[in-house]
């Protein structure tokens, strides 16, 4: 049975959603509209006359090999961050779900990293990964020169992926744990009585029941890794070395705010936004079909 709440006053519902709409308008629609407009002009940093250049900004963007490189880097970063953070979070959640004593302690401790701001986490990881004095310095003691995120692009990428994953594991963990605990014990116990081992129980019962949570987290993680990698990258690599960690969102910041090319960076924002919308659409269209939502 579906419960419906009816408002007598026709105006009241609109009034109630007004603050939310206003906030979204001021902080999302208005700037987005402005970025869209700028992407068709050449906007001078200090304001003043902006020339209309049509699709020139986009044309320049799509003819730049560095832009495709940055898009490729973003995909690598998004894939591995999502994969590692969701995979480890699921594993941790399964373990914690089976813990009988001290559950609250484990749960609390595992949630803490979520409260750490990205730049703060990045500073901590920077110390860990520093080739000279950090924790990873021991690698260089054994094999001199094997670890150098200052120069070697792959090392720098690995470093930011680890830092970004670490940051979002906890968020995923909370959702997975809640999802696991919502699965009725009777299903699992019945399967156990029928002789299904833990892996079989997970594959045939637990995971299908967990799939709505999984899908939700997938959408959130992919979207996040496209946009939220900024804090980590800004502190740890600033897109370097040699542009090896220059993900699209960092490039937007770098070109627009540091380089003062407001229009070029607006065009990039428009492309990135379209990309994220398209990806989310694909996820809903293709993956959600296979999701089973409990009635």
């Amino acid at each position: 049975m579906i419960k419906r709440v009816l408002f007598r006053n026709r105006l009241l519902p609109y009034l109630l959603i007004l603050p939310e709409v206003l906030i979204v308008f001021v902080f999302f629609y208005w700037p987005s509209a402005k970025a869209l407009f700028w992407s068709f002009t050449l906007e001078p940093p200090f304001g003043g006359f902006a020339q209309w250049v049509g699709l020139d900004n986009f044309r320049e963007l799509f003819s730049s090999p560095e832009y495709y490189e940055s898009a490729g880097i973003t995909l690598i970063f998004a894939f591995w961050t999502t994969f590692i953070s969701m995979g480890l979070a699921l594993l941790l959640a399964i373990f914690v779900d089976r813990v009988i004593r001290g559950l609250v302690v484990y749960r609390t401790v595992l949630m803490w990293p979520y409260a750490v701001a990205a730049p703060a986490a990045a500073v901590a990881f920077q110390f860990i990964f520093q080739p000279g004095v950090g924790f990873f310095a021991f690698l260089n003691d054994i094999w001199p020169g094997i670890w150098d995120p200052n120069i070697v692009g792959a090392d720098a990428m690995l470093m930011v992926i680890i830092a970004a994953s670490w940051k979002s594991i906890t968020y995923n963990f909370i959702f997975f744990l809640a999802g696991l605990q919502a699965i009725p014990r009777t299903f699992v116990e019945a399967a156990a009585l029928d002789g299904a081992g833990p892996i079989r129980r997970f594959v045939t019962i637990v995971f299908p029941l967990l799939s709505p949570t999984f899908f939700f987290l997938l959408v959130i993680n992919v979207t996040d890794s496209f946009t939220e990698g900024f804090g980590i990258i800004n502190v740890m690599t600033q897109g370097g070395p040699g542009g090896a960690t220059n993900i699209l969102v960092y490039k937007i910041y770098q070109d627009g705010f540091v380089g003062l090319d407001l229009s070029g960076s607006s065009a990039q924002s428009v492309v990135l936004m379209s990309l994220v919308i398209a990806l989310t659409f694909v996820q809903f269209k293709w993956i959600e079909r296979r999701i089973h939502y409990a009635e």
Partner: protein, 443 residues
């Protein structure tokens, strides 16, 4: 009765006006700067000294993070019409600021406010960076420095090196000698473009771009992939490959300066403004020397870096009188002396420099070596190729060159390939800038 009251009220009123006069609010002048830490504190002291020196104006100085952040803040504020009177602008933003339409030129401000400034008192190579092509100052140079070579004397003595190298060829030999004598890190270095591209090109009289490094027009094109800079970049790659030093980025916490100052590395190239900072932490014997040059070349002057103060449009005449008074104060001998003493930046006026010399400043042990900077700035009169740079989006171009050079160090590209690509990408930026300011020209 009524009349009496009125008179009394009038008298009281007059008294009130009379009493209010002395406590009338001072004209407030706002200044935003982009220096942090110790240097930021010294900017605050300069402001306090101005406030103490007169009682008509009150300057309120606010730190806005680093240079980039200060410029971003200034731009955002200008667009919202909440900008300060004075904005500190990094040298690489000179072209952008000159064409921004948001600037009240420095020479005009002083003329309008009735000051008769002896512009020739400003040191030529400092002035030329911030002046129009006909020599009129657009922004007031404030923190000006030039890079020098810092070297560890203890390590030199141990390895038997007699003194700092004058040429890059000798310098590289010295690095090898140090390495052979057991020094693990003869130099802490990076691709530091201010030293290795800009000063290198100025000193050798080679162009970074056509049109006299951009001074003659917005249609300049980068050409540093055709000069001896290519050979110099190959030299950096050799240092990296032969492990003659450690590649240290500021980003990783331990930059080149820290690596030198802690006694770990034998050399580093850096701004003379760091002289005071190194002095505070260094436990070894060290000194500074001019930047080396290629064999068989008589070097030109080096050029300033740092930042200058830009006056922003949109205030009334009374405010600008205060702004002018502030700049008149900044260029005074006492203020120049104060700023150079506490920081290590060079004085921007000849009179300031002469006063320091007369006081025997450069003879004092803790300041010895700082004269190297001003000597290299004044080595020759600035030529069209050693006046500085006036390229649009130069901040971004530097980032591009840096990226390409890092790819070269990682072995993905040769020096020539990296620089060719840097020139190609950099020229795209220049063309974008030219299109942005179509129909306008640099002053």
């Amino acid at each position: 009765m009524e009349r009496k009251t009125l008179t009394a009220a009038a008298v009281l009123g007059l008294l009130a006006v009379g009493l209010a006069m002395p406590v009338e609010a001072k004209t407030e002048i706002n200044l935003w700067y982009g220096l942090k830490g110790y240097l930021g504190k010294q900017v605050m002291k300069v402001c306090e000294r101005f406030n103490a020196a007169q009682d008509e104006y009150e300057i309120v100085c606010t730190g806005k993070g680093n240079y980039d952040q200060a410029l971003q803040a200034g731009i955002a504020a200008y667009r919202a019409k909440k900008h300060p009177h004075i904005l500190q602008g990094v040298e690489t933003a000179t072209a952008t600021l000159m064409l921004s339409g948001a600037i009240y030129p420095a020479h005009q401000l002083m003329a309008d406010a009735g000051y008769d400034v002896d512009w020739s008192d400003y040191i030529g190579s400092i002035m030329s960076y911030y002046a129009s092509s006909d020599g009129k100052l657009y922004s007031f140079p404030f923190n000006s420095s030039t890079p020098v070579m810092y070297y560890n004397i203890d390590m030199y003595e141990k390895a038997g090196i007699s003194g700092p190298a004058e040429t890059w060829e000798q310098f590289e030999e010295n690095l090898r000698t140090l390495k052979a004598s057991g020094v693990a890190c003869p130099i802490a270095f990076s691709t530091y473009l201010w030293v290795h591209l800009e000063q290198f090109s100025y000193m050798h009289g080679e162009p970074i771009s056509t049109r006299n490094n951009g001074f003659d027009g917005l249609d300049a094109e980068l050409v540093f992939n055709q000069t001896s800079y290519v050979k110099h970049v190959e030299r950096l790659k050799r240092w990296y490959d032969e492990k003659l030093g450690s590649y240290a980025k500021e980003l990783f916490g331990v930059g080149t300066r820290e690596s030198f100052a802690t006694g770990k590395c034998g050399h580093y190239f850096g701004s003379i403004a760091s002289h005071g900072t190194v002095l505070k932490s260094a436990k070894m014997k060290w000194n500074v020397a001019p930047l080396p040059h290629n064999e068989g070349v008589t070097p030109n002057n080096t050029v300033v870096g740092g930042a200058s103060f830009w006056i922003m449009k949109g205030f009334d005449e009374a405010d600008y009188k205060g702004v002018a008074a502030f700049f008149d104060f900044i260029r005074s001998v006492e203020s120049q002396e104060f700023w150079s003493t506490v920081t290590g930046y060079v004085p921007t006026t000849r009179s300031g420099y002469d006063a320091l010399v007369a006081k025997g400043f450069y003879k004092q042990e803790q300041y010895a070596g700082r004269e190297v900077a001003i000597e290299s700035l004044a080595r020759t009169p600035p030529t069209p190729l050693s006046r500085g740079l006036r390229l649009g989006y130069f901040r971004q171009i530097k980032k591009i060159i840096g990226d390409e050079l890092e790819q070269m160090l990682a072995g993905k590209k040769t020096a020539q390939e990296a620089l060719d690509n840097a020139v190609k990408r950099g020229n795209e930026q220049l063309r974008r800038f030219e299109k942005q300011y179509q129909g306008q020209s640099l002053p």
